[in-house]
């Protein structure tokens, strides 16, 4: 059983904030709330939560900007509250560094499942390590290093790298990765995988636009290879 997660909920609508806080607290999480992005960033520095649930539509600085600012300093998981009608929101949100998203109207159970899945990503499981060229993944320490330097990876990025490294040279479909990393069902949004792979490449590849480690397998998905 995962430890009690300490969540920061940033949501401007009072009713939604209250209702979600109530639901999440009942699910056993510890919740602090903020009504704006500025307050949220302040609370993040003061309280150091494990995870952030972030509404996209915020007065002042919007959810994307909050997300970007957090990513400058922190690698903690971020779950966006978004609307499916705003497909662009999802894409922009994932590009600005969110780990997952939940579509409004949010079902508390779904949000809880996502939170738990994100929290599980940081858990260590085995105690070996693997090396792919200059990239070394230490599964016991849950770290990845490139040329000996620690990489700043979010739990999701790290989990994606771990799942890929567990099956070197084998292509994994986006749906498989969604199940393994995000614990999504068969309807997972493949853009989550694509966005995360982009972020991961930006951190681990020498030239992110021509990757040598994490490669796209057309019509299937992605695979991790040691560079030839």
């Amino acid at each position: 059983m995962a430890r009690v997660a300490f969540l920061l909920l940033i949501e401007d609508d009072d009713a939604v904030r209250t209702a979600l806080e109530m639901g999440l607290t009942r699910q056993g999480h510890r919740v602090v709330t903020a009504a704006s992005g500025e307050d949220g960033l302040k609370l993040l520095r003061e309280q150091r939560p494990d995870l952030i649930v972030l509404d996209v539509m915020l007065p002042g600085i919007d959810g994307f900007e909050v997300c970007r600012r957090i990513r400058h300093t922190d690698q903690l998981p971020i779950i966006l509250l978004t609307a499916r009608s705003d497909d662009i929101d999802v894409v922009v949100g994932l590009e600005s560094g969110a780990d997952d998203y939940v579509v409004k109207p949010v079902q508390g159970r779904v949000l809880d499942a996502r939170i738990r899945a994100v929290m599980r990503r940081g858990e260590r499981e085995s105690s070996d390590s693997a090396t792919f060229g200059s990239l070394t993944i230490d599964r016991s320490a849950m770290t990845a290093t490139k040329n000996g330097e620690d990489l700043q990876l979010t739990p999701t990025e790290l989990r994606l790298l771990l799942e890929l490294s567990r099956r070197p040279g084998q292509a994994l479909s986006r749906q498989q990765l969604l199940r393994l990393v995000w614990e999504h069902d068969y309807l997972g949004d493949s853009r989550l995988v694509d966005a995360c792979v982009q972020r991961l490449r930006a951190k681990v590849e020498d030239v992110p636009s021509s990757p040598t480690l994490i490669r796209t397998v057309r019509g299937v998905g992605y695979r991790l290879d040691a560079p030839q």
Partner: protein
């Protein structure tokens, strides 16, 4: 009869009405004839230009021919009369001068001499004189025996000349001068004759004057008149041509403008200059086009605003729905601990909240399709897995017979496929009852399938095998009259097929989702009974719908994302081989 019918004799009234009816076919016949004529004219003279030219030509021809005709006849009369009078007067005078003093019984030689003298005038005619000779009875002497004999003088004229009339106050002379126009060997001549008045028997003189010079004059006049008529006709036709051009140019412009208007270019306007009927027509056209444009703009603005209203409304509903949903879950979990009086109420709130949630979701989905903002999120999936997962997720495994081989891969939007499948299978379960048969196969699209070509939009492309998913139920089927409407929004069929989910949007959304993939759904009744819904999708929606959707780079973020993604993929393609 009128009196009788006033008396109220129904028979008479009936007779009247029958008579009236008898008349009608006649009227119809005449209008029909008129219409037939108009049609005939339209058939023979198909263009307005031709009709104008013909009418102008006819008018010019009539005017010119009548004018020339009148001029010709007047001239002819004048010329002939003048020549005739001059010759006859001269002849009369000459006859008096030369034959008046001849004795009653003369020698033939004397007559010939008189005839020669008479012919010697300026009028240039031949003369024949007859008289009673002393020795040989009657004698005829001509100035030119070959050209003029008594045989040339018509008998009627001779008779008239010889006829003696009674002398009274109205008629002072017993004999008169008579003349006649005759033709000898195709040449016109004037022949005249008179008897010398005196003691009988007196000689009779005849003259023969050629009218050939007059005829030649008249012929040349006729020729000039004919040429003038021809020129007038030509001029009229040219004028008609010019008139037709000036009239028809605006008409053609009008036709062009009307065509453009019909094609939907409502801002089409004509330049209206002048104050003639055509300018007025152009102005009328402009006013109509303006009114039409305003009306269409108003209607589309109204539709746009109502659509935006629905979109905004469903958007606005989402925030409170989020709060309510989150709370209802809390309520649901606490249900067992609640007062048994309150628990059913809570249950109702929970279930209705869920329905409201679905309705809002569906509404938003529909507004996205209407606004054209729906996007595909494509992925390569195993179709059988997707179908199984869809059935499994809704706990329908026991009610559905699945006939699907694993390994059929397709590039599509899994979420949208799930929406379609859930709607079709849910619908079949609701109305047809279990078991519902779901089969998955691939087919080569029939080349004759026009709808397939239209929707797939690429008949020239190599035929791509398409994915066919059939959902068949064992129910009563769909009534024929409902069949064309099953995909309509909020279409309520008969009570036998109620919309128990209450949204009324499910099949419509399913259809929209199929369309956005470049596929479609058909519904029909199976011969064995039960309704069959067939979903047809291209194996690679990207090639059909995705390609064009990604073409709409309507915002910077998505295009930058695409660029990055494309770059990454092309880079991969390079190192993959």
């Amino acid at each position: 009869m009128i009196a009788r019918s006033r008396d109220g004799d129904p028979g008479a009234a009936e007779e009247e009405s029958q008579k009236g009816e008898e008349h009608r076919p006649d009227d119809g016949g005449s209008t029909k004839k008129l219409r037939g004529m108009r049609r005939w004219v339209a058939g023979v003279l198909p263009s307005l230009r031709l009709r104008l030219v013909v009418v102008f030509a006819l008018v010019a021809l009539t005017a010119a021919v009548s004018a020339s005709g009148i001029a010709y006849w007047l001239n002819r009369d004048a010329v002939l009369t003048r020549a005739q009078n001059a010759a006859l007067n001269d002849f009369r005078k000459s006859l008096e001068d030369n034959a008046g003093n001849l004795p009653s019984e003369v020698e033939c030689a004397q007559l010939r001499e008189a005839a020669d003298r008479m012919a010697g005038t300026t009028q240039n005619y031949e003369v024949l004189v007859t008289g009673q000779s002393r020795d040989r009875g009657s004698c005829a002497a001509a100035s030119s025996e070959d050209d003029f004999t008594l045989a040339h003088v018509p008998a009627s004229l001779r008779k008239a000349v010889d006829k003696r009339r009674t002398v009274d106050s109205a008629n002072r002379h017993p004999y008169h001068l008579y003349w006649q126009r005759i033709t000898i060997d195709g040449n016109p001549f004037l022949v005249g004759g008179a008897k010398v008045i005196g003691e009988e028997p007196t000689p009779t003189g005849y003259m023969l004057k050629s009218l050939a010079p007059e005829r030649d004059d008249l012929n040349s006049l006729a020729w000039s008149l004919g040429i003038a008529t021809g020129l007038a006709l030509l001029g009229a036709m040219l004028l008609a041509q010019a008139a037709a051009t000036t009239v028809l140019r605006p008409v053609r412009r009008l036709a062009q403008a009307a065509k453009q208007l019909g094609e939907g270019r409502l801002d089409t306007r004509l330049k209206a200059t002048g104050s003639d009927e055509l300018a007025e027509l152009s102005r009328t056209f402009n006013r109509s086009a303006e009114a039409l444009e305003a009306r269409v703009a108003e209607l589309s603005a109204r539709e746009e605003s109502s659509r935006r209203f629905v979109a905004d409304m469903s958007h606005e509903l989402r925030t409170p729905m989020t709060a309510i949903s989150a709370v209802t879950e809390v309520l649901e979990e606490e249900q067992e601990n609640l007062d048994p009086m309150i628990a059913p109420a809570v249950q109702l709130v929970v279930s209705e909240t869920r329905r409201l949630n679905d309705l809002v979701e569906n509404l938003m989905e529909v507004t996205r399709f209407d606004a054209g903002t729906a996007r595909l999120v494509l992925d390569d999936v195993d179709v059988a897995d997707q179908v199984t997962a869809c059935i499994d997720a809704r706990a329908w495994l026991d009610a559905v017979e699945l006939d699907a081989d694993r390994g059929i891969m397709a590039r599509l939007d899994p979420r949208r496929l799930d929406v379609v499948l859930a709607n079709l299978i849910g619908n079949a379960l609701k109305h047809g009852g279990s078991p519902v048969r779901v089969s998955v196969r691939t087919e080569t699209p029939q080349p004759g399938d026009a709808e397939a070509a239209r929707l797939v939009g690429a008949p020239a492309q190599e035929p791509q095998r398409e994915l066919v998913i059939e959902v068949a139920d064992r129910g009563p089927g769909i009534p024929e009259e409902v069949l064309p409407h099953v995909f309509d929004r909020f279409y309520k069929a008969s009570a036998a097929r109620p919309r128990s989910d209450g949204s009324g949007l499910g099949l419509s959304i399913a259809m929209e989702n199929a369309h956005i993939h470049g596929g479609w759904i058909t519904a029909h009744n199976s011969p064995e009974g039960g309704a069959v819904f067939s979903l047809r999708l291209p194996r690679d929606a990207h090639r059909v719908a995705g390609g064009e959707m990604e073409g709409e780079a309507d915002d910077a973020e998505s295009s930058s994302r695409r660029r990055r993604r494309d770059g990454a993929e092309s880079g991969d393609g390079g190192d993959g081989e």
